[in-house]
């Protein structure tokens, strides 16, 4: 690929097959390599067997395999044991999962979950449908967390300087250290935690701080609790359901943070339009980095992170706030800004301005002033006091801790969770200062970089093994209950703090229940219906069952939320800086490295770039062109005298002269999956500027580093699979989507028509709602026992994900005018090309319309995959499934076969869930209700973009979506009659800002 190729191609739009939408720059350039890549079913495998000697050998081996294949059926089954309970718990029905409400934490905030438990083994996590922070969906971390529970690399033993010790020995040592501290009022005691919202933990910490007034509590989290140049005083909570116009100032509210699930639910409810007349919301985004939120924008402008403040100032002035001068603005901003301001003023009380968590307090203050001026406060946004306890600015808190450590004031340092040695900013020098601490104690899931430098290491219990509590982002108190006894004798922070408080023997269950028993008597909690609880026991049982206390949500209808005062100064925006700006972002799948050892998250293609197993520097097309950079070139970035070497990824939509650096990689002690991969940009991050900093420089090192991106994998020959129209065009001609492609008549087939007398399953995916967050992939992996294949295999296009999310860009790569996502599972075609070519009938049509895949029949010819126009079939080239690691066996879904080598597999519409629902419906002598069966991807989707159901029932949700004007079949001109259909994207640009690419017919090529 060269930039010249792309430019030439863009310059001649008359190219007959010129794509209006493209997935990668290679595709856009349409180089010979790319054509080659597309022409091959699996690009890196031998398409033909050319080596003559190898061919003979191959035929011999195949002959022998064929001859012996039948014999392999003649093995006696090995003996299997059944181990019943001694005393069976009352509610347990073997063979049926049980579900328990619990929650995990992200930045201290509770992420509500329902855990599926098979005979004591948690196997799958779903969102808690009743909880306001989830409404049934999760993010990718919620889906992948169950794998971390069974991670064989988790720390298993309590250690003192590398030697195995007992808990009793540890508590004795802790007491001894504490006795010394008592006489000093705790002057030498420091506790370093991650951000905390847990009421029980906070109470324990406060008790310690009361008893030992000189002791100090610090917080650090590289991802969540870190702000640039002072944190905002109040926390905004948004009601995106009520917002007609949304302006995001570097806020990725759909893609990042513990509120993303709920916000996506609300936001997408304004995108799932039913008729052409339905009004959508309109989103403007100003941001330096392409994000999921930016991808949903009607108008998006890429600016440097530093310049967002100026844009906020100018916008505030335009909507009537007396804000400081903004300085010079870019041409693109000047074009959009007045229109954006007018749109906001036209929607007073129905609009909202959202400031991003990576922006300084002044931008938040401006956003709040705008919302107040526009009358949005109370309807689309409320401002509360921060939900998390403790210092708002983790970096400042950490800096003061390190100062004390360097001054040798710290005798005992307790690190409760987190991996500060790896994640703290380089300029603070945490690891060096750690050496000056008397006794260093670490509680963590892994024996990681921090554990290595501490005296004591206590293995932490995973949240699925823990009792606890946390507040969700909206304040809702969410309970945590263990799904399994600690696998590796892990301990919890509450146990450790209880030991500090002089009660080492108390169990976490007692401690948490005790806190809430006391809180119940002093609080006035009500159940979800609004009625008070009769007794403490009734309260406890009810909240444990529900997983949360409903009356504590600040987002519930009718909640009266005390408004936090606005006392942040606007500040004058910084003058624009020339030169390169480094923007730091947590990695979208492994965050700051905490999920580095989670294979599911490593292999999950990162939204937009589709990179796996690596981090990279995103640069814009223009910046790359100017600096002669191309994908995979390794550059050395220098910032404030510190350097890091990272590979480049040309990411359309990045602001020019910005280097977007994702941290979280470069771990040394993550485990067998996550150690020693990628680069570690924490070495150039500083406490003053944790999110962006100007004045960087870069040089090409001349090296290259191979990146495994799935962006070009399974490309469908540039057939323009997404259909996109503008709202005005759709309203003028509702049939416009149908006219964008040619749908052959149903009877144009040589095969006899099939009849479906019972259910006829189908799926509809709303591309207008989909945000591309990729949780569907993670959910599918967890539900269907999909193996992890590793970077080397991903490079060969052999990732096993049954559903992929294709991302299409539109327009000039230097300034793409649109980004669209298309989740792509098996389309379950009516006239499926795969079925007719299978020589052993291993893929056949079921009477309910599914393309069944029969693993035990498959002999691995791969004809089906070769014949699939959607490229959704996945082949086990090797023994990808782990059949040996005992810990991982417990994680598997017992309702789905674990596939072996040489077998084809693909999306089954979660047939195990269909079968369960069918059997239950038949046992209850009733039909299967609409919505009773949710596929894993559908259940996890926060945008409610995926709907599954019975196409035979006209009242089902999926039938209604199938009947919509927006509905179309992917590549339907091939006559495959897919059962999974799509709902077209309807863009909603401001009429005052005509989009550069006209809507509709251009895309189809017809």
């Amino acid at each position: 690929m060269t930039f010249a190729d792309i430019r030439t191609r863009l310059a001649s739009p008359t190219t007959p097959d010129g794509p209006a939408y493209w997935r990668s720059l290679d595709e856009l350039a349409n180089t010979e390599e790319f054509q080659n890549f597309v022409a091959r079913e699996f690009p890196s495998q031998a398409s033909e067997f050319n080596d003559p000697a190898g061919r003979r050998q191959f035929l011999k081996l195949m002959g022998a395999s064929l001859a012996l294949a039948g014999v392999s059926a003649c093995t006696r089954q090995p003996e299997e044991m059944i181990v019943p309970y001694v005393r069976q718990p009352e509610d347990v029905i073997p063979g049926r999962p049980m579900f328990f409400a619990t929650s995990m934490t992200a930045g201290g905030f509770g992420m509500p979950l329902l855990a599926e438990n098979h005979l004591g083994r948690p196997t799958k996590l779903e969102g808690n449908p009743d909880h306001p922070a989830s409404l049934g969906a999760t993010d990718v971390f919620g889906q992948a967390a169950v794998l971390s529970l069974y991670d064989p690399d988790r720390s298993r033993t309590l250690r003192y300087r590398g030697d195995t010790k007992t808990w009793a020995g540890f508590t004795a040592a802790l007491q001894a250290a504490l006795n010394t501290q008592r006489s000093l009022d705790g002057a030498g005691l420091r506790i370093l935690t991650e951000p905390i919202t847990s009421p029980t933990l906070i109470e324990q910490l406060h008790r310690i701080l009361t008893d030992l007034p000189e002791a100090k509590w610090h917080q650090w989290d590289a991802v969540y609790g870190t702000v640039q140049a002072g944190g905002p005083a109040a926390t905004p909570l948004y009601h995106f359901k009520n917002a007609d116009v949304v302006v995001s100032l570097d806020a990725d509210f759909l893609g990042f943070g513990p509120s993303a699930v709920r916000y996506t639910k609300d936001f997408s409810s304004r995108r799932r339009i039913g008729t052409p007349a339905d009004q959508q919301n309109r989103l403007y985004v100003v941001e330096p980095v392409p994000t999921l939120t930016g991808a949903k924008a009607a108008h998006r402008v890429a600016v440097k992170a530093r310049d967002v403040h100026g844009v906020a100032s100018a916008l505030a002035t335009a909507v009537g706030v007396s804000a400081p001068e903004s300085g010079a603005l870019s041409e693109a901003i000047q074009k959009v800004l007045p229109v954006m301001a007018q749109d906001l003023m036209d929607h007073r009380g129905r609009s909202v301005v959202v400031a991003g968590p990576h922006q300084p307090a002044a931008v938040h203050a401006l956003a709040r002033a705008m919302n107040e001026a526009l009358g949005n406060v109370g309807s689309t946004v409320i401002y509360t006091a921060p939900v998390a306890a403790g210092p708002a600015d983790g970096a400042a808190s950490l800096s003061s801790l390190v100062e004390d450590m360097n001054a040798s004031k710290v005798d005992v340092l307790l690190v409760l969770g987190g991996n500060p040695v790896f994640t703290t900013p380089a300029d603070i020098g945490f690891s060096e200062a750690l050496g000056k601490v008397g006794t260093r104690i670490h509680l963590g899931l892994y024996y990681d970089e921090t554990a290595e430098l501490c005296d004591w290491h206590v293995p932490e219990a995973h949240f699925l093994e823990s009792w606890g509590d946390a507040r969700a982002f909206d304040g809702t108190v969410s309970l945590q209950q263990p799904l399994i006894a600690p696998l590796y004798d892990g301990r919890q922070a509450v146990e450790l703090l209880s030991a500090l408080n002089g009660a080492p023997g108390r169990t976490p269950a007692e401690l948490v229940k005790d806190y809430w028993t006391r809180a119940f008597t002093s609080g006035d909690f009500t159940d979800p219906a609004g009625a008070p609880f009769a007794t403490v026991e009734a309260f406890w049982r009810s909240v444990l069952h529900d997983g949360f206390i409903a009356s504590t949500s600040l987002l519930r209808d009718g909640a009266e939320v005390p408004m936090a005062p606005a006392n942040d100064a606007f500040d004058a925006p910084p003058a624009s800086a020339t030169g390169l700006e480094v923007v730091f972002r947590p990695d979208p799948t492994v965050l700051d490295g905490r999920y580095a050892n989670n294979g599911w998250l490593q292999e999950l293609p990162k939204p937009l770039s589709k990179l796996t197993w690596d981090n990279a520097v995103y640069v814009s097309f223009t910046t790359a062109e100017q600096n002669h950079l191309k994908n995979e070139d390794v550059i050395e970035i220098t910032l404030g005298g510190r350097t890091v070497k990272m590979p480049v990824w040309v990411m359309p939509g990045t602001a020019d002269d910005v280097l977007v650096v994702h941290f979280g990689y470069g771990r040394r002690k993550a485990g067998r999956v996550g150690s020693n991969i990628g680069a570690n940009p924490f070495v150039i991050r500083t406490a003053q500027a944790p999110w962006f900093e100007s004045g960087a420089s870069m040089v090409r090192t001349g090296e290259t580093h191979t990146l495994a991106s799935t962006q070009t994998h399974f490309a469908m020959e540039g057939r323009n699979s997404v259909r996109i129209v503008d709202a005005v065009d759709y309203q003028a001609d509702p049939a416009i989507v149908k006219h964008m492609g040619h749908k052959p008549a149903d009877n144009l087939t040589l095969y006899p028509p099939r009849e479906y007398n019972g259910n006829k399953w189908g799926m509809a995916i709303d591309l207008n709602a989909c945000t591309g967050c990729s949780v569907c992939i993670a959910a599918c992996v967890a539900e269907n026992n999909i193996p992890v294949v590793g970077k080397d295999q991903v490079k060969r296009s052999r990732e096993m994900h049954w559903i992929r999310v294709d991302t299409y860009f539109e327009g000039d790569p230097a300034e793409p005018s649109g980004t669209y996502h298309q989740p792509l599972p098996c389309q379950q075609c009516e006239d499926a090309p795969c079925e007719v070519v299978c020589p052993v009938a291993a893929t056949v049509h079921s009477d309910e319309g599914l393309n069944d895949m029969v693993y035990n029949r498959c002999v691995g010819t791969r004809y089906c995959s070769n014949n699939c126009p959607y490229k959704v079939r996945r082949f086990n080239f090797m023994l990808y499934s782990d059949f040996t690691t005992p810990e991982l066996k417990a994680q598997r879904n017992p309702d789905v076969t674990i596939r072996s080598r040489g077998v084809m597999e693909k999306c089954t519409y979660c047939v195990q869930r269909i079968n369960h629902a069918r059997i239950d419906a038949k046992t209850g002598e009733r039909p299967i209700a609409d919505g009773e069966i949710q596929t894993a991807c559908q259940q996890a989707c926060p945008a409610d973009a995926i709907v599954f159901g019975d196409l035979n029932s006209p009242d089902s949700q999926v039938s209604k979506l199938a009947a919509q004007d927006r509905n179309y079949g992917l590549l339907e001109d091939l006559g495959t009659r897919p059962r999974t259909t799509y709902l077209a994207v309807v863009r909603n640009p401001n009429p005052a800002l005509p989009s550069e690419t006209s809507s509709g017919n251009k895309a189809s090529g017809h």
């Binding site: 079921s846 009477d847 029949r857 089954t908 038949k922």
Partner: protein, 219 residues
């Protein structure tokens, strides 16, 4: 130069052709027979269990209902193997000192589960559900055989796919009224086909197209 092969070689070649054919057929028959042999299917084979538990005594003699021990048969894919507690319900009162029951008492005393060998073991890619079969009128004895007459439990049928399909293709041959499902003494009436067809309709049993769809059992 004389001929290398005498004329009689022709006969030898011809007969060897037949011999090859016969050998191939024989080998085919051999494989075919082996695949269906009880050695491979483990049909009618007794297995060593931690306790010589007799269904003949408990079901045939004492008259326990299947569901007293196999409690989840109506609500789950798995019929359930009783916990030690179920044994102790009675055996804390009767045969309390019988040496043969020592493993049961030990299990209960030490809280260590008993480990039974699975007798009716389907391959791992088959997902069978007791719940639906019992609901649709398939008797226990239809698949498990005369359990009430088994002093030691054995697998009564081949459990091969063709055996499953025998019923999935024509369930009317085997269906019985729901009330008779757990009745070990039930005998099929002379007009089984007529009854089966009536029950099939009444119980809303799916048609052959559904019952032979792969994903009904494999997934």
């Amino acid at each position: 130069m004389s001929q290398i092969f005498p004329k009689s070689a022709n006969a030898a070649v011809r007969s060897s052709l037949f011999a090859v054919m016969a050998l191939t057929l024989f080998a085919g028959w051999g494989v075919f027979t082996l695949m269906r042999s009880s050695w491979l299917t483990k049909q009618s084979e007794f297995v060593d269990q931690p306790i010589q538990f007799s269904h003949a005594h408990h079901v045939g003699g004492v008259g326990l209902d299947c569901r007293y021990c196999h409690t989840s048969v109506e609500k789950s894919s798995f019929a359930g193997i009783p916990p030690t507690k179920t044994c102790i319900n009675c055996h804390s009162q009767i045969w309390t000192n019988a040496p043969i029951l020592e493993p049961v008492r030990a299990s209960f005393r030490n809280d260590t589960p008993l480990s039974w060998v699975r007798v009716n073991d389907l391959p791992d890619f088959v997902y069978f559900s007791h719940q639906i079969h019992v609901k649709q009128g398939v008797g226990c004895a239809t698949c498990h055989g005369p359990v009430d007459k088994m002093p030691l439990t054995y697998q009564a049928t081949s459990l091969q796919m063709e055996w499953c399909l025998d019923c999935h293709r024509a369930p009317e041959k085997f269906l019985r009224p729901r009330s008779e499902v757990f009745n070990m003494a039930y005998e099929a009436p002379a007009d089984q086909l007529e009854l089966g067809l009536r029950l099939k309709k009444e119980y809303n049993v799916a048609g052959i197209a559904h019952m032979t769809s792969c994903s009904v059992c494999h997934r």
